[in-house]
Amino acid sequence: MHIYQRQKIHWFYELLSLAFIVLIISWLYFNWKINALGYQVSNTWTFLSSSANFFISDHWLPFSPKDPTWYAILIASVNTFILGMSVMMSATVFGFLFGILSAYPKYKLQWFASSYVDVFRNTPLVGQLFFWYFGVFYLMPQTEHIYYDGFVKVSIQSLSIYTGNLFFILSFFYLIVGIYFLFLKRAFGMSLSFLLMSFIYFNFSHSHYFTMSVEWLALYTTLTFYTASYIAEIVKASLLSVPNAIDDAAIALGLNDKDKFKLVIYPIALKSMRPMLINQYITIMKNTSIGMLIGYPELMNVLTGTIINSTGQTLICVSLMMCIYLSVCLFCQFLFMRKHEPI
């Protein structure tokens, strides 16, 4: 906005506003001090290093209750992060599919794609979660009548897929790639993520089955369908926002339909949809917190449910929870952002 002249600093008003904010914050602080006098709460961080003393049913990294509490928090954060990442991938695929289908009238499935978007965008996430979890996934066979055909095992407890030695091979491959990246310049982050993936895959390799609990599946399904509807809308809007003249120019160059989409329209649309997509990815990370309602041990459930309950350190746990979510969101933003990209 500051186009006409250099900005002038109004020192008097700056100080006055500062005083105003300090006044508000001090008011809140003194109120808190007085209210906290009513009960003696000792805020200590020592509980983080003492042992956790609870089980976590789903974990991607090895965990035993004897491990320190900070490690349990890390386990829960990894649960949240991996759930979010898996949803990101599948929701992007579904979202692009439905977005492209609904953007072009020539596809016969346009009505289907647009009604899908309509239904999933206009209903609450909590309702959808309960629908999938208690409505659909609880119809899976009981443990006594488990479905097993040599490749998948399906029961109300979990879904297992036969992987054989796949994870061991993958783990080995990722380890090699990770070490290779370690010696390259400016690829430290890349190498670290490969090594982490290798470590996670190695933990699966002791069993020949890859097992997912019902809670994980329900969360994954819900979040995928929910977010895909948002992404479809973004994709559709971006595709439609490409000017017709560009379309005509591509035809004039003699490109066929497929090449026109692949080489001209899609790259232009991708640039305008990028910020909105990043926004959606961050929203996914935040939405994983509804796992609390069905007992999936993600960050919110473990930190503000179990740990507060066993230690009573409300202030520290709640602030920690907010900090972790903030940093996960900022990390995602950092992961997908490119600086100074022209649109």
């Binding site: 179990t306 009573g312 350190q313």
Partner: protein, 347 residues
């Protein structure tokens, strides 16, 4: 003059009002600084109603009956407190709370007293904002199994066990399993009823919790006959009401109200004998051995009002737990009958 765009911005807008605005804010600020308040009963009296935090629905302890009224063992305790303060057991507002929100609600002064089957333990008594006046129900933690044939708890090794979040069972079950050397997978549900649903569907094989609640949950299962509450107990769970640590007066009221309820059962003083005027106030005081019942902010005959409104401990118990739900009295019998309920004297 070419106009400067920054005059359109926030400092420009408030140029005229800003200082006046700030002056008023300072005055308001000074007015809002609060003082510490020590006693809660005068405040409750001024408000005209007692705020009582209860469960979202646990038959026998606190639930909404068919008439849409709150009823149950702990609801009667709240009514007793209201009777002591107002001489009217109906001046209570029942606020249903979930496990996660219970202590926050007490902290926020949304409720004066929590009566929602809270088990007493060290962390809660020292680290949270509340304190426990008295143990009004001796409970223990047990496991409810459904559609499962096992003889002892350690046969649950490797199975999924449902728990309700915000309860002490999480730690107690862990320590119990640790000492016996077996493992389980927890499924921590946010509400008791969702855990029952998961148990009924076979998602988890057992449900751990307070024995008193498990008897209730057992009746909510599709086939109660196939369910079984284990006799083996995981841990002792004394239940208590909870008040804020600043409210000493309410603390004393609840503590001695409970003792009076127990003592009146011992002396065979029932609601009926008082309501039918068989027992006058002086007779009542004489039988209970009360010298003088002075307590700040309360009338001298407040215990008489309480028994008149809700009856004695035995009556409360049988009305809410024995008759409708067949929950045995076990440890909650009077000490003379082999239980753990006793009362100090009112001298």
């Amino acid at each position: 003059m070419h106009h400067n765009i920054s005059t359109f911005l926030i400092a420009g807008i408030f140029k005229r009002w800003y200082v006046r605005f700030m002056r008023w804010l300072l005055i308001i600020y000074l007015c809002l600084i609060q003082t510490i308040q020590a006693n809660i009963i005068p405040e409750i009296k001024k408000r005209g109603v007692l705020n009582c935090g209860v469960t979202t629905g646990l038959p026998g302890f606190s639930f909404m009956n068919e008439k849409g009224e709150w009823a149950g063992f702990e609801v009667d305790y709240c009514r007793g407190i209201a009777a002591a303060i107002f001489n009217d057991p109906n001046k209570v507002k029942f606020i249903p709370l979930t496990n996660q929100m219970q202590f926050l609600a007490l902290n926020m002064k949304q409720v004066d007293v929590l009566a929602r089957v809270i088990s007493i333990n060290y962390t809660r008594a020292t680290q949270l904002s509340g304190m426990f006046p008295v143990t009004h129900y001796f409970d223990d933690e047990a496991v409810l199994i459904y559609n499962l044939n096992i003889k002892k708890l350690s046969d649950l090794d490797g199975k999924t066990i449902c728990l309700v979040s915000g309860s002490t069972t999480e730690q107690n079950l862990y320590h119990y399993a640790l000492t016996q050397g077996w493992h389980y997978k927890p499924l921590v549900m946010s509400r008791g009823q969702l855990a029952v649903r998961a148990l009924a569907s076979g998602r988890c094989k057992a449900l751990a919790g307070d024995r008193s609640s498990l008897y209730v949950f057992k009746n909510e299962l599709p086939k109660p006959k196939q369910a079984n509450v284990f006799d083996e107990s995981i841990a002792l769970e004394p239940l208590g009401l909870m008040v804020r640590q600043s409210d000493i007066d309410l603390y004393q009221l609840i503590q001695w109200m409970h003792y009076a309820l127990v003592l009146s059962e011992q002396k065979n003083i029932t609601q009926a004998t008082i309501a039918s005027k068989q027992l006058t106030l002086s007779d009542f005081n004489e039988q209970m051995g009360i010298m003088s019942l002075t307590m700040s902010y309360l009338p001298d005959h407040w215990l008489y009002q309480v028994i008149n409104a809700v009856g004695n401990y035995g009556e409360i118990y049988s009305r809410n737990l024995t008759k409708p739900l067949n929950i045995p009295r076990n440890n909650n019998k009077l000490m003379s009958q082999g239980g753990m309920m006793y009362s100090p004297s009112f001298n």
